[in-house]
Symmetry: C2
Subunit: 219 residues, 2 copies
DNA sequence: TTATTTTGTTAGGTTAATCTAACTTTTTAT
DNA sequence: ATAAAAAGTTAGATTAACCTAACAAAATAA
């Protein structure tokens, strides 16, 4: 059985190595940054994870999850996203509140709890941020979606997710009345810096940065 | 903010000191036994709890919760019992499965989570074992109930709780088809050892020990 | 290709929470 | 009133997870 801490490391490795499209290799410093720890601490833990055959890592080399490690990590992500869905759907938490609590709940150890929760929620495919919820067998459903920053001028679509879960971002969305299912049309794009002008629902237009647009998923 | 471990100690002190009717004082060894730890470990932690003004304890003396300590302990019990109710009512866990998982869930830190859970469950007054769920202000509703072992011969009543939450006990209940709300009539009592003959629901009679009977609450 | 920067490792410490073994104080029984 | 038993304490170790500071290797730039 893995400790709370080990689970957090594995999840961080998974997220770093599978963020974006391709499968990247992860380094000690990078991991330390994402876990808000010092490289020395991470280095120490990596040894333990290697001994437990959860990761592959040669001295001065990059980190990869073993099959076993990936299964564990995906399991934590599954729990995290199911709990987020529960908090959002059942307990009516707002979009930007679910993550912090799910960060704790994801470590509860009970197979039955998770399978019953999944059943209770009616086997959701995505969490409140639009991220896919891994199945019990570890398969992660494909969620087809494009970044808002890549939608052509004049086209529109429905918000199906976000790529940033920080509360500043989510609160900004809230202020703009953008949520899951909101229809957005790209009215215009500024070549200079990639800013885009949007119509949100049927409201008047707003301009947002490319950074912002690249964190909104349209499906 | 208290650690997982500190919360478990406070809860154990609360349970030991307020088990049964009167308010008893608790000792180091007793506490060690109930937490499945060694007295030396408990002794060490008691110092920290005292420093944090959560308990009162003089050298070689007994342990009592301070006001602050009791509030914390009751808070943990509230969370434990709300989660047990959730597992039982919402996720259809069985009577004897809820405790173990609630033991973990009780440590999740989020005021909002608990108040929303309470609301979702429609403000239950008792948990699946018939134990009262403390209110947010720390008040514990009185649940009027008598031990089955004290019911007079010929009388009957409804099961409203249990005093033992071990899984051997709860599984025995399950086997006897005794659950919350079951009607039980005391048909006969053996003077020699306090064993009682019961009719459970409208089924034929069974004989149970006094020990067993003293752990079933009739209201 | 050498110097600089970035990345990763090692050594040595700290804190929380546990343990065993030895000791002291208090309580209970004779 | 003493001896034995029970209850509680202390000392010293261990383990997981973190830290800082110093160092070594690898990657990058001049
Ligand atoms: Mn976490
Ligand atoms: Mn999410
Ligand atoms: Mn617990
Ligand atoms: Mn209970």
């Amino acid at each position: 059985m893995l400790s709370y801490t080990e689970e957090n490391y594995l999840k961080a490795i998974l997220h770093q190595s599978e963020s974006g499209e391709a499968v990247r290799e992860v380094g000690t410093n990078e991991l330390a940054l994402s876990l808000q720890l010092k490289p020395a601490s991470v280095n120490h833990m990596l040894k333990r994870l290697k001994e437990k055959k959860l990761i592959l890592n040669e001295k001065y080399g990059k980190i990869r999850l073993t099959k076993r490690g990936r299964i564990q990590a995906v399991g934590v992500v599954r729990k995290h996203r199911l709990w987020e869905t529960f908090l959002f759907e059942t307990l009516r938490f707002s979009w930007d509140e679910v993550h912090e609590v799910a960060e704790q709940l994801e470590h509860i150890q009970s197979e039955k709890l998770i399978s019953r929760l999944d059943e209770f929620l009616n086997y959701p495919r995505v969490d409140p941020h639009g991220d896919p919820i891994p199945r019990p067998d570890g398969k992660i459903p494909k969620v087809s979606a494009r970044h808002l920053s890549l939608i052509e001028t004049g086209q529109s679509g429905i918000v199906v997710g976000v790529r940033d879960t920080s509360s500043t971002f989510l609160q900004y969305l809230e202020n703009l009345s953008i949520r899951m299912g909101t229809r957005i049309k790209v009215l215009n794009r500024v070549d200079y810096d990639g800013s885009v002008e949007l119509r949100i629902g049927r409201r008047t237009s707003v301009v947002v940065s490319e950074k912002f647009a690249s964190n909104v998923l349209i499906g």
